[in-house]
Symmetry: C2
Subunit: 498 residues, 2 copies
């Protein structure tokens, strides 16, 4: 028994080290890799992933898991066995040939997607997407499900969450957002006070690094670099790598990508040190990870108290641009609502409608009720229904995201889950820490960060996401807190009754 | 047979990918790793190195090597089998327990070395060094040798070179350098024209990147970053990572660390693309690798023709510092000769005496003729004899280098080999490419670079270093070309008859 435990712990540490190194190679790919090294890096990553897979699915691991799982020494050990078994089962069930076919189909679909965007011609993408869909269906069947294939894919990002649990919540959300967007039509009336201003890249960089320090991101256990598509990566909770994107025409890009990634980064830095080389030191789901980035980005970073504390620093960083802009005007500019066909440009109110649109289409694609070729028409109809507009063309519509070209189905809903979980967690924090907003308005983020660290970050993956949220907030997945937050915030901003 | 060949090639590519990734993790450790992540990175590297070892020494590899080696399809395949077998044999022969004991002893010795430097007390280091020496002797015996243990260690850096071949060359070199240094005593008479000037870090950075481009380093297949101790790393010939060190008080630091590492980098970028995932794409020895860095740094980078071409660019980069300094004064300042107790500050004339000193002591330590505790006395005596001076204290003497604290014995001579090989290779290039210096004086480095690429870089590890040099220059390892170069250069500079 002790021999199995030692062996299992040793293998787990090895897998952690390997996934940390995969994290390094991926981060480097998006930050510093010389352009001619792309092919070499792809081969290196494939070798590492192959080794990771091999060490995970090795037969002896099943044996160790069975022995240790039969008599776990603690709740943590039980959770560890559960998490490792779940990951291993998924990996074992998908045949190597299918993994290879998927990788090839992803490559082909990605190329086809680029060609289709270039030529504004969805038909150039449809066959490759259809092939990928059929492989994803095969993969879902290999993993196993009880009739709903989407469940098997969703479980890869959101373990424990079923389609049957998810969709009613998304639909309730949709049913409240559509009239809310209509009620905000025409607001705000004036022009954007930030439009047309240029913010020097160096000053933006310094200001984002200052923000990280103030928000409590440990810059000795992590760093920030630049990337075209910002993301959070890294190799270990002591080595968390944020990225940001600086655009001189658009201060918001760097501000909110830094604050967003900082939310992810605080999560990664908040695991318990004694868990660091264990599978417990991870978020239980992508949705819960996203709850932390969205909480900091939107609920905190676009709030008036946040800018009460930090706007003087922003003005000091950009005196000629912001010197004459009032705090209220700046805050309003960060919170403009407008229907847009583009998800990544969407504001807090309309954003989740973009997710509902995609999730419903994914579900129909996977159920076989919708063919890839029919996607543009379905997309445009849903866009009209949900957002009240149709994209000018497919590049601004169905071809806008890279996710389907990767064959990533089941990922989009995690963005909405993040928004919903964030609002519920913040409500619970406000109840538990009455002075939290006063502290934020004074530039003190410790009360909020400590509460999140204790109740969310330090828990790691001990509980599935919804169970953790239920434990902390008293309710599980719900649209109620998020919708109440939107009504409160945008009612106050717009002066309309929402 | 074909099955074995495929399997062997597959394993070789996997090993190449793994060593590339170890290169990435090591480079990152010296450039961007957050300070709190040091322990995590050490664990990740240890896991990767363990996997590399395991995949290399696996019994099936011996089988594949035997089958493919019995009937190689080409000379390249024969060389590949020879290189892989040699690496594998070394790895197999050292027992895992000894590897572990060495790693622990290295850690302890490194700590003791730091304590000893801090307290200027060699005695704090001696026991840890003695322990490391005894393990190195054990390792040398495990690897195997014909009576001279140093051979087994030397082979790790300089395959094919024996102590019996090396020492007479080093002694001949010593016997000419000692009088040469004496003949240059008191030269140069005037003060250093660069002393006291400050060179802004940003301008230095831009100038070094410009240099890399002009020398022909492909910045799309590599990059430059900053590091405290400059080195060349990377993951692949399309991903070569140079580092440099900028000191505002000392322009030479960045200039010559960039040019030195560029020499290494051109070597790495110069392997044949069809060899990239093979063991053929490596230098046959550390000494030959060092020949490329020293050739560019010293023989080219400290030459008058080089600065004829580039001094106007240097003046444009540092107008207020260099605007009134003549080309000749600048060139003379880069080539001052002075006895110093410190190896890394030594000029071209005295440098190799520092190497002779260390190599002789290493040999005596490993033969058991010298105990660690007696090193300071032996060091100081040798320093007096070779350099005509004794260090003020052990920190400026026997404790100055980190190599012995790592237990790295057999490495120092590769620096001298690099200098000797560089001079011989340049002599051969001058004979083969008559206009090479005129081109350099016109800022055209292509004739030199092409010749090196064809005759050295593209050969990879097909031949052992001395065999390659013999093929290219007509002579093997010799001090003749290097000493002739020094006499010619410093005779002209000093106006003395040398």
């Amino acid at each position: 028994m002790d021999v199995s435990r030692e062996a299992l712990l040793g293998r787990m540490r090895e897998l952690k080290d390997l996934s940390g190194i995969i994290g390094l190679a991926t981060w480097d790919q998006e930050t510093y890799l010389p352009p001619k090294a792309e092919a070499a890096r792809a081969a290196q990553l494939s070798t590492l992933q192959g080794l990771y897979h091999e060490r995970l699915v090795a037969p002896e691991v099943a044996d160790w898991l069975a022995r240790v799982g039969a008599a776990p020494q603690s709740d943590d050990e039980r959770a560890m066995v559960r998490l490792l078994s779940r990951e291993r089962d998924r990996a074992v069930r998908v045949p190597v040939d299918l993994v290879r076919a998927l990788a090839e189909a992803q490559g082909a679909a990605l190329t086809a997607w680029r060609v289709a965007r270039e030529g504004r011609d969805f038909a150039a993408f449809a066959p490759a997407l259809q092939r990928l869909l059929s492989l994803r269906r095969e993969q879902a069947d290999a993993i196993g499900h009880e009739g709903e294939r989407y469940d098997a894919l969703l479980a890869g990002f959101e373990p424990g969450l079923s389609t049957a649990r998810l969709m009613p919540v998304l639909h309730a959300l949709r049913d409240q957002l559509v009239p809310l967007v209509q009620a905000l039509d025409g607001w705000p009336p004036g022009p954007d006070v930030l439009a047309g201003l240029r913010f020097p890249a160096d000053a933006q960089w310094r200001f984002t690094v200052e923000l990280l320090g103030r928000l409590g991101f440990d810059l000795e256990a992590g760093r920030q670099d630049k990337a075209v598509h910002p993301f959070t990566g890294g190799t270990h909770p002591t080595d968390v790598r944020l990225t940001t994107r600086i655009s001189e025409e658009n201060l918001s890009a760097a501000l909110f990508s830094t604050i967003h990634e900082c939310g992810h980064g605080l999560y990664e830095q908040g695991f318990r040190p004694e868990d660091h080389r264990s599978v417990l030191a991870q978020a239980p789901s992508m949705g819960l990870h996203e709850s932390q980035s969205r909480l900091w980005e939107n609920l905190v970073g676009r709030s008036l108290p946040f800018w009460k504390a930090l706007y003087p620093r922003a003005q000091a960083s950009f005196p000629s641009q912001l010197g004459t802009v009032s705090l209220e005007a700046f805050h309003a500019a960060l919170n403009r609502v407008a229907r847009s066909p583009i998800r990544v440009e969407a504001d807090e109110v309309t954003y989740n409608l973009h997710i509902v649109l995609r999730t419903e289409l994914e579900l129909e694609l996977l159920r076989g009720n919708l063919a890839a070729a029919d996607l543009p028409a379905a997309w445009n109809a849903a866009s009209q229904q949900l957002l009240g507009l149709q994209p000018q063309d497919d590049v601004k519509g169905v071809l806008q995201d890279i996710h389907w070209a990767w064959g990533e189905l089941g990922y989009f809903p995690t963005y909405a889950l993040g928004n919903l979980y964030a609002a519920s967690l913040l409500r619970a924090c406000e109840a538990a820490v009455p002075g939290v907003w006063e502290a934020i308005a004074a530039g003190d983020f410790l009360p909020l960060r400590s509460w999140l660290r204790t109740h969310v970050h330090a828990e790691g993956a001990r509980l599935d996401a919804e169970d953790l949220v239920r434990k902390v907030t008293g309710t599980g997945l719900t649209d109620v807190d998020f919708v109440a937050y939107l009504r409160r915030k945008y009612g106050a901003l717009s002066g309309r009754s929402l």
